[in-house]
Subunit: 177 residues, 2 copies
């Protein structure tokens, strides 16, 4: 399954860190791309590009001026739209059905999400019906939807070998010529 | 299983939102309590108390002056310590073993975590070995560790009925005397 994440709403300074977490989670948990809609701000994009340079390439982050354009275009290209919201249906009831789709676009909000998002979405899904965090919802959703799929990132400078205690990181020296 | 979360490090203003997300995720995903260690700041605690007032009671958030004291005391009281870190062992290899414990304390970092945390932890666990987010790590870990357990919160003012599209929230009017 191919997953793209659409971040609905981003405010400069105030949302910088949370949006950056959304980008890193999308990358680490197997999405191909994140599209940020809201105030034009390169900060989170630069942060994830820096991570890709060190930890491996293959993930895209970009800004867009219109969430609605992105959503309708992706739907035209056979993406199913999954909106993560605490008001939606329980993930455990719908995840098997969602896993069958080849392409999904996952919408996560920041500030209040307008009604149209609920209407355009093919699924409105709740990870829990208690207030929590769009980062948490995204993480659990991708973990469940792409279960077992580990992304291989291209040409990493750094690589972790899991360890019982402490840190085991290998650094590749790049060919420069 | 009883789960307590220990947030290692909190900086005023800068970490406010991320720490608040950690609190809300702990509450929503079944932990009993979060202990915040770092700069003394009531903001995230007030935020989660506000949520508990509206969405139901039963979760505790508190500050502590020493992560080490908290960790060693919990260990003495038969809590197993699980430190979430991208350098640790894959969650899928260890989760079955962890689920057998009756009480766990889950440590999540903010800024760089000192070596002693890795050493005091019974488990160092990675949700992924790619940089991501402590909120995401906490969410996936609690989701996996407490699988199936839904917390019932006491005396909520608001309650969601899951819906296909839109929002369905019921508000209880409280008895006043």
């Amino acid at each position: 399954m191919e997953a793209v994440v659409l971040r609905y709403g981003h405010r400069m300074v105030r949302d910088e860190r949370v949006t950056t977490h959304c980008c890193l989670v999308s990358r680490a948990l197997g999405a191909k791309k994140i599209i940020l809609c809201g105030e034009q701000d390169q900060t989170p994009i630069k942060a994830v590009e820096e991570v890709s340079k060190r930890w491996g390439a293959g993930f895209q982050a970009e800004m867009s001026g219109s969430w609605e354009k992105e959503l309708t275009e992706h739907k035209k290209n056979n993406f199913k739209a999954v909106h993560l919201t605490m008001y939606g249906q329980p993930i455990e009831k719908k995840i098997k059905q969602i896993r069958k789709h080849k392409k999904i676009i996952v919408i996560i909000g920041s500030q209040k999400v307008e009604r149209k998002v609920y209407e355009l979405a093919d699924y409105n899904i709740a990870v829990t019906n208690q207030p929590h965090s769009e980062i948490a919802a995204l993480a659990i959703f991708l973990h469940e939807a792409l279960k077992g799929k580990k992304t291989k990132f291209a040409n990493p400078e750094l690589k972790i070998t899991p360890s019982l205690r402490g840190k085991n990181v290998k650094k590749k020296t790049r060919a420069t010529g």
